[in-house]
Amino acid sequence: MSLLEVYGISKTYRRGDAAALAEVSFCLEERHVLALVGASGSGKTTMLRILAGLEMPDAGEVRLDGRVIAGAGSGVAAERRGIGMVFQNHALFPHLTVEKNVLFGVRKMAKPEKGRLLAELLELVGLPGMAQRYPHELSGGERQRVALARALAPGPQLLLLDEPFSSLDMRLKQAVRDETREILRARGTAAVFVTHDTEDSLAVADRIVVMQEGRVQQVGAPQEVYFAPANPYVAKFFGSCNFLPFHLLGSLERARVSCLVGPPGGAGGERGLWIRPEHLWLEKPTAAGGLSGEVERVSFAGSYQRVFLKCAGDLSIEVSHTQGFPIEKGQVWGIIPVRRLPEQSGST
């Protein structure tokens, strides 16, 4: 039995509006971290608020440790669920010190024990000696860590994080992200977090639930979601992706690309392949035909160059060029996939 089981959750805010959530189901094992990923308006935050008990679903069921905590129109009140939450802008109580914030949810505990818990948590999040500060005296990263400590203090079975890193700047974000992952691992707390940042989800989560317009598009491990997207939406959501219709592929088919192949899709339901830019190489165009294109635009991205090529039939293809030789606008290059099935390479 999983720690958290979500079955067929649906929610509509106003009659006549599109459903905020439609039949959402997933589950989460103990000690695992799950990411709810989607664009804004995908329903991921609504799902999180239903888990927290701040919203009620219209239909479906949420079980925590086998106990039903939310059903259609009713459920255990948020304050009795034993679920912790870290809010998007941290929601620290501005009138309370770090100590009082962290211990806000701790009840029925003797004073010395409370002191010990506080010291332990502040140590864990790397803020020892900050107990008497007020939230406005802390930096963004420190606030995020206090929010985490506060949510962990009552010892929740499950921790929810709503866009926990979105208010931090790029450089800080990566450090806090890794730290948070380590802290969750150290406490052994299962967590669900919501993000619109695919990089966050790939880096932190054990499982990813991709959502679009209230529906689950794919559930899987980060590698699965990235390398074997279930549909074009997921493929494009996790980074640039080229769609190559079969009728243009000719020699590409002979190259026997395998795990890069996504589901059929594209405009008008045409069948073809979904290939990420880093899985394509540029070569001298061969006389044998194959896919080739004229370079339209090159942009420098540090460790690689993004090359945009125009192919036959108005097809645009993006290639992440890491091979070092210079590419210039107007040149014509052949495009081939990098990864071939090892046991079949060289055959044909």
Binding site: A52, L54, G75, A78, F87, A91, F104, L160
Partner: protein, 536 residues
């Protein structure tokens, strides 16, 4: 398995809120009920001889007082916001002082002026004859009453315009200056049109206060609707009083609806509010003019009356009835203290508990309670008065407790009139507390009320306190309701001042008058801090 429906929670508070809304509607209900009863010839007589005069005098009074308040309030606000000169900072603060001067206290300081004008009246009679003499005798009280009301009420206009000039239209005003517009052009072509909503808002407040005034107009013998209602009430013509009260309510609603309507059409009134207006430094000649512009209304609205009151206080220093004053002061304090507890408790239920439960029922109750502020004082007074008479007459036990029914009536009347004063600051304060804080408290195991108690209320502590002070001062200086509804032989400072002034014992009114004014001054501090906070 603990599955709990959301619907059954907070039923007690919903009941309380519904009860409050009902309490606010009761006086209006009583008045409508009694007004619809058939009346004898009394109403016909009033319609024939007095009604037209009441209406005409009401309209004239409101027009004159509002006109004076606008003529004083708008230019002072502009000068203080747009220019820099010696004494500006001090004047900015001083211009709030007239708010601490209840009209009837200022009237006490001026009422003997009419006696002092006797030589002038005689001179007019000798110059122009009897006709002119009589006319001047009518005009002079009008000049005094409208002048006093205008000079003590103009800060409402000043405050609302000042916020707009200094903040909201700062960008547009500076742009006009850079485009080479003259000083007068900036004022008339940019600042004034942009401030129109604020001017109307301030002006309508002045109009409302004027319509509700009883002390000043009755001391100078004017006959608009409010004293008319009380005259009929005093003569025992209940139905007539109720019908006149409904007339008053009609005029008041017109003012309120007009204000609402123009606010709805605003759209351009709210500038981006970026930064403060840079003030232009004035030369010494213009500085003097600016200081005079601000100082003259201050003189008439505050310093002159205070000076006269102080002198009388000195004159009667040995012979003042301190015992009576102390008793009245104690009565005022007890009433105001009780009312504040009632008002704040109600406001917390209507605002903070409403937010905690997200209840629509309580929200509707809150909106209804806000309407109470738009009911005329006279209507509330006679409505509650009729209710008290009914209760005392129909419940034999209540007859013995005549005093307590009256106190109950007073509290009900204060609740109806001043609940909005308690609700508004609290609602504005709560609005600024992000909802996620409450949700955070909930996920940490606090119930709805627990979250309200531990998070919301501590965060709105200052606005709550400011609201309490405003309510306290409002009740403390309240005259109209108290005069009608107080128990027999029960005096507050306000009614004592009024009685002494009315009886011509003006010097004796000075001591309670000063005491009342000083207390109102204390009430100004939270008001100005509240304004600053809301402005930010």
């Amino acid at each position: 398995m603990e599955i709990k429906s959301r619907l059954c929670s907070g039923i007690i508070f919903k009941g309380l809120a519904a009860g409050l809304a009902l309490a606010v509607l009761i006086p209006l209900g009583v008045v409508v009920l009694r007004a619809s009863q058939p009346s004898d010839t009394a109403w016909a007589a009033v319609v024939e001889y007095r009604l037209w005069g009441y209406v005409l005098q009401t309209l004239l009074l409101v027009a004159l007082v509002t006109g004076i308040a606008l003529a004083v309030g708008v230019p002072t606000a502009w000068v203080i916001s747009a220019y820099d000169f010696r004494g500006r900072a001090l004047l900015d603060w001083l211009l709030l002082l007239p708010l601490a001067m209840p009209g009837f206290v200022a009237a006490a300081a001026y009422v003997d002026l009419i006696g002092g004008l006797a030589p002038f009246f005689i001179w007019v009679r000798q110059q122009w004859g009897l006709e002119a003499f009589l006319r001047v005798q009518i005009i002079v009280p009008w000049v005094c009453a409208t002048g006093i009301l205008g000079m003590t009420l103009f800060p409402y206009v000043y405050l609302s315009c000042r916020a707009v000039f200094a903040r909201q239209s700062a960008g547009a005003i500076e742009a006009a200056r850079l485009l080479g517009e003259s000083a007068a052009g900036v004022f008339f072509r940019v600042a004034l049109p942009m401030a129109r909503p604020a001017i109307v808002a301030g002006g309508s407040l002045v109009g409302m206060e004027t319509m509700n005034d009883y002390g000043v107009v009755s001391l100078f013998g004017l006959q608009p609707l409010t004293p008319g209602v009380f005259r009929a009430w005093g003569e025992g013509e209940v139905v007539v009083a109720m019908r006149l009260a409904l007339f008053l309510m009609f005029f008041l609603s017109v003012v309120l609806v007009a204000e609402r309507w123009q606010r709805g059409r605003r759209g351009y009134g709210q500038g981006s509010g970026e930064g403060k207006l840079a003030r232009v430094r004035l030369g010494s000649g213009k500085s003097l003019a600016a200081v005079m512009l601000c100082a003259v209304p201050l003189m008439f609205g505050f310093f002159l009356p205070v000076g006269r009151l102080l002198r009388w206080c000195w004159d009667v220093r040995g012979s003042a009835e301190l015992g009576g004053h102390a008793q009245a002061a104690w009565n005022s304090l007890a009433l105001a203290g009780g009312a504040v507890c009632l008002l704040l408790g109600s406001a917390v239920v209507l605002v903070a508990v409403q937010r905690a439960y997200g209840s629509r029922v309580i929200l509707i109750a809150q909106k209804i309670c806000l309407l109470g502020y738009g009911l005329p004082s006279a209507l509330v007074a006679v409505g509650v008065g009729a209710l008290v008479v009914f209760l005392a007459g129909n419940f034999p036990g209540a007859g013995v407790l005549a005093l307590s029914t009256s106190v109950f009536g007073l509290m009900l009347a204060y609740l109806v009139r001043f609940l909005a004063v308690a609700i508004q600051p609290l609602a504005a304060g709560c609005e600024r507390v992000p909802g996620c804080l409450r949700e955070a408290a909930q996920t940490l195991g606090s119930g709805r009320l627990g979250a309200m108690w531990r998070v919301d209320l501590p965060l709105v502590k200052t606005t709550l306190l400011a609201g309490a002070t405003l309510c306290f001062v409002d009740v403390f200086k309240e005259l109209t309701l108290t005069l009608v509804l107080r128990p027999f032989d029960f005096e507050t400072l306000a009614t004592r001042i009024y009685r002494f002034t009315d009886e011509g014992r003006i010097a004796e009114a000075a001591v309670p008058g000063m005491a009342l004014m000083v207390l109102c001054l204390i009430g100004l501090f939270p008001l100005s801090t509240l304004m600053k906070r809301l402005e930010q």
